[in-house]
């Protein structure tokens, strides 16, 4: 009797698992296009927020670093968007940094982060990010770290704030030196 039990057992599990696998493959295939579309739409939205008057966004590369070249209707480059990864409080933060023609910061947007909701997540707010606009690399330090400097951290989220500051400054340094 025991052997028969084991066989029925295995049959039932295999059947249920197969059914489950089939169902999941189905759901996955149905939702995959939607999920990719959502990602694309979000990406475009971020790009447009940084450069509202950008007409076309082209992927380019310089010195091995990829970036998005922002073109106006006449095909002239009016700026660049760089994607930077920096280590925050809860993991990696992905930033989109928009630079104007003089390589000064035009606007910064946070693409992805794992910071604490309500605290570190405030790095996505414009009230924090707008502090970076127009600054050069020497200005980009937290007030806490260099008292005559310009960026106010978010209360209760120093590490998240510092991560952004470091990420931005490192990019500017790389551009000044590498390019």
């Amino acid at each position: 009797m025991k052997k028969r039990d084991i066989i029925t057992g295995i049959l039932v599990i295999t059947f249920i698992s197969a059914l489950s696998g089939y169902l999941l493959a189905h759901v996955y295939n149905k939702t995959k296009p939607k999920i990719e579309e959502v990602k694309k739409v979000e990406e475009e939205k971020l790009n447009r927020e940084i450069f509202p008057d950008g007409f076309k966004f082209e992927e380019k590369e310089i010195n091995g670093v990829k970036y998005l070249s922002v073109l106006n209707e006449n095909g002239e480059e009016i700026g660049k968007i760089f994607e930077v990864k920096t280590m925050g409080y809860g993991g990696y933060i992905t930033l989109k940094i928009g630079l104007d023609k003089e390589n000064k910061i035009k606007r910064i947007k946070i693409k992805e982060h794992n910071e604490t909701p309500g605290l570190g997540s405030k790095i996505t707010q414009d009230s924090f990010l707008k502090q970076f606009i127009g600054k050069t690399k020497d200005d980009i330090y937290l007030k806490k770290d260099k008292t005559d400097e310009k960026i106010d951290a978010i209360t209760g989220a120093t590490i998240s704030s510092r991560a952004i500051v470091e990420g931005v400054r490192k990019l500017l340094e790389k551009i000044e030196n590498g390019k």
Partner: protein, 196 residues
């Protein structure tokens, strides 16, 4: 970007800075139930470390060698939990036969561990953070060691508290949570440990 030299950091971060119980809130069900008694806490803690490290390594292998190459990532929830459950089952059988003394010590905690969210979470996080095998090893060890540490400390405090004057309605579970709040506060302080 995480390279091998960061192994110590990975361990410490999982153990202290993002402690699985007090900061990530995982593994709580068993935590509250078992931490009333120091002996059981030690047993549970050791069992968790053992199962977590092995099961996470196994899951890492399953994901990276079986699921990902065949684009079956959507099966990871099912496969991970089945891997963990089977591993625990298998483990229990072996220990019961080969090391009966050890089984008597912490064997009963093994089935409880299957539903311990901390283990499943470690498996998921190892994949999400795109860790290498070695990094995953240190990561899962850090997480489970963090669990073990906290549950033992907690049990020690709780046994003391049993004899303290607490308002009736707070006795038992509520005071445990208040305690957890205080410990969590302390652990938050570790967040500034590494200036990256």
């Amino acid at each position: 970007m995480l390279n091998e030299t960061n192994l110590f950091f990975i361990f410490l971060s999982a153990f202290l800075i993002n402690n699985i119980l007090l900061i990530r809130f995982l593994g709580l069900c068993s935590f509250i139930g078992i931490s009333t008694n120091i002996k059981s806490s030690i047993g549970m803690g050791i069992a968790v470390v053992f199962v977590t490290v092995m099961a996470c390594s196994l899951s890492w292998a399953v994901y990276n060698f079986l699921l990902a190459p065949f684009h079956l990532e959507y099966l990871r929830t099912t496969t991970f939990i089945l891997t963990i459950a089977s591993f625990v089952q298998f483990e229990e059988m072996i220990i019961r036969k080969k090391l009966p003394a050890l089984y008597r010590a912490f064997g009963i905690y093994l089935p409880l561990i299957t539903t311990n969210c901390a283990i499943l979470a470690s498996a998921f996080l190892g994949i999400d953070y795109k860790l290498s095998f070695i990094q995953n090893l240190f990561f899962s060890f850090g997480i489970s060691a963090g669990y073990c540490f906290v549950i033992i400390v907690f049990a020690t405090i709780r046994e003391e508290i049993e004899i303290a004057p607490i308002p009736e309605s707070f006795k038992g579970v509520p005071i445990a949570f208040i305690l957890a709040a205080l410990m969590s506060l302390a652990f938050l302080g570790f967040k500034g440990l590494f200036k990256l």
